[in-house]
Symmetry: C3
Subunit: 267 residues, 3 copies
């Protein structure tokens, strides 16, 4: 039996198990002024990490009350994902900067489809529908970039994120100082995350913002340690690059030896 | 290599991975007055969702204290599942109506075997053993029906449940008004659940009972939004049917296009 | 297509899915005085359960503050795992007894790679580096033994642990009385764990220490019931052996019929 056959079987298995293969969205993200596919105005698009983008033009008052969000936002944009919180939050931060919207809620599920980390639910508030939709569209596009320094293996994952200027989403999610350079290191299993935090702190002069671990808060019982920090742009990047180098070596000791970026590294 | 061979390999993989294939219980649920299989009186049977039904005729006093359950219940029935909380809770509600037992505890684990939702642990209290056993038997049977509007895909899942008359289990788990029509919508990833709640609320005049989300309570950090509501029987059903239609379209945008019921739809 | 071919495909699938196959660490645990593989002094080794052992010779003061651990420990040893908390905690208990170190933190993630249980993060504090490293090495070695009465299947898992004399790790994690015989039963799905607790309590005269369940505390929303108890050495073992016998029968009703130890039973 040749390799091609094994490939084919692997492909079928992967798809059926929902393991690695990204879902193939049945339609492309809709253009801004056009209704989504499937005849649903709510649908905007999908992205890496089983991320889906949706919009509700005019939230039902009954649900609006239950969601406990500010009454002034009639239209909400929604980014939800099975895999990832960091990539979606950093993407949403770009969306806030680029559009007339605010991030009004960020929640972390314990997910990643059997992996060690989080899924996410992010709500944007906007005064009108096109603004909410635009925020979701920008987020979906940015997610491809922010998955660039996410490295997964069967044993765990590593994540590094950087922004030159933190905005509302990063402030809400991590308490990042608005307008400053900001970075995060994530290691799973959590043991690796502890070392990443130490390496990052030693590699450059940064200001610690937070440290989250499986049982002491900041995670939804995920198997991660997350270190967040701000500071001079060069220092934040230097800390991230040092931690990434160590992280890739440590995670590869649990196999396989080569661990690839989910998309394309950007830091 | 023909399709049959691929099917065979897929079957072996599925079984080994515990992915989709339901476990094949090694014996049938025991008749009411007969000891379970394996020579264990505790065993009652299994059902869809890796659900197991058990009974303890006379709980050890040491354990009884630790469980913090009412002393008057010497016999307890147990329903536990890896996948599902809604189906088991709605099934238990039928069991309470049909037997001389009470639901004394409902706990939600973060489970579904790598999926986005919950597993469950439900305890029935009864004055004597046959009543506890009967409650478990009814629940196991009902679970096949209540999985009827559970729709799973590698990307997530949808759940819709309806009862014409809520009883003790639904009251305990969700605060459902006793004796009224009651329904729930569940969408995972949670982003889809937000839209389902909005669609249900707009489709008919219902009374909101609750809204649960990944990080704000009501879930065990599952990647779901759950909307619960009561009202006129026709209105509750109308809301559920509208949400189901939208949910199936949204979940299918994450692939695959056709998403099937776990058993047979009943709403 | 012969069995060997199916085996080969299964192997590739397993490895790619990260399902069952243990990761093959790319290097052996380093000898005590030698730097770990990959040129990283932090690396100590790996073990069953996707367990990794690490050491930080001199924790950065910034991180030390955030971790909220006692200032007197400059060097920390780290045991982290995707799968298992009990095996690692009982292993750490042996390490505390055998080395000049203390367990300063134990956290439980909701993990087991899509399974029903926990992952773990354990920190050792020591005055100097060789002590911290030695504690990690002992733990990694002991983990092979403490996985001996862990029994997994696609449907769930069982765990039984025993020590003749509890020390600091078991005291910190479970409140075990120091110096006494101590045991735990774990059953997943949680329904099975309820019966194991009852069987253990009835089988011998033991003192209950704790009872943890999915939604009422003691677990990180895992789908387990954990019963912990101390007492006379013979009684603790008798309780564990009785629970193990019942547990294997119950779990096998959810298939497959034969359920094997992860390594080699020791109780």
């Amino acid at each position: 039996m040749n390799e091609a056959m094994i490939e084919k079987i692997m492909g079928e298995v992967m798809q059926k198990m929902g393991g690695e293969g990204e879902s193939k969205p049945s339609c492309k993200p809709a253009a801004s002024a056009v209704a989504g596919c499937c005849g649903l105005t709510e649908y905007v698009g999908t992205a890496t990490g089983r991320t889906i983008g949706l919009v509700i033009p005019n939230v039902d008052p009954l649900i609006h009350d239950l969601m406990k969000i500010d009454k002034k936002y009639r239209s909400i944009g929604i980014i939800g994902a099975r895999t990832g919180a960091g990539p979606q939050i950093f993407a949403a931060d770009e969306a806030v900067k680029a559009t007339n919207s605010e991030v009004i809620s960020i929640e972390l599920a314990r997910d990643t489809e059997g992996g060690a980390g989080h899924g996410s639910l992010i709500l944007f508030g906007a005064a009108d529908v096109p603004d909410a939709r635009r925020a979701v569209e920008v987020s979906l596009k940015e997610v491809e970039r922010t998955f660039g320094d996410v490295y997964g293996s069967p044993a765990g994952h590593l994540e590094f994120q950087y922004t030159a200027r933190a905005s509302g989403a990063l402030n809400k999610a991590f308490g990042a100082p608005i307008g400053q350079s900001f970075g995060i290191t994530v290691g799973a299993p959590a043991a690796i995350g502890v070392v990443l935090a130490d390496v990052a702190a030693k590699a450059a002069t940064v200001n610690a913002v937070g440290y989250s671990s499986p049982g002491n808060g900041g995670t939804s019982f995920s198997n991660e340690v997350i270190f967040t920090f701000s500071g001079d742009s060069g220092a934040v990047r230097q800390a991230l690059i040092a931690a990434r180098e160590v992280g890739l070596k440590l995670l590869s000791t649990m196999g396989p030896e080569e661990i690839k970026s989910t998309t394309t590294p950007y830091i």
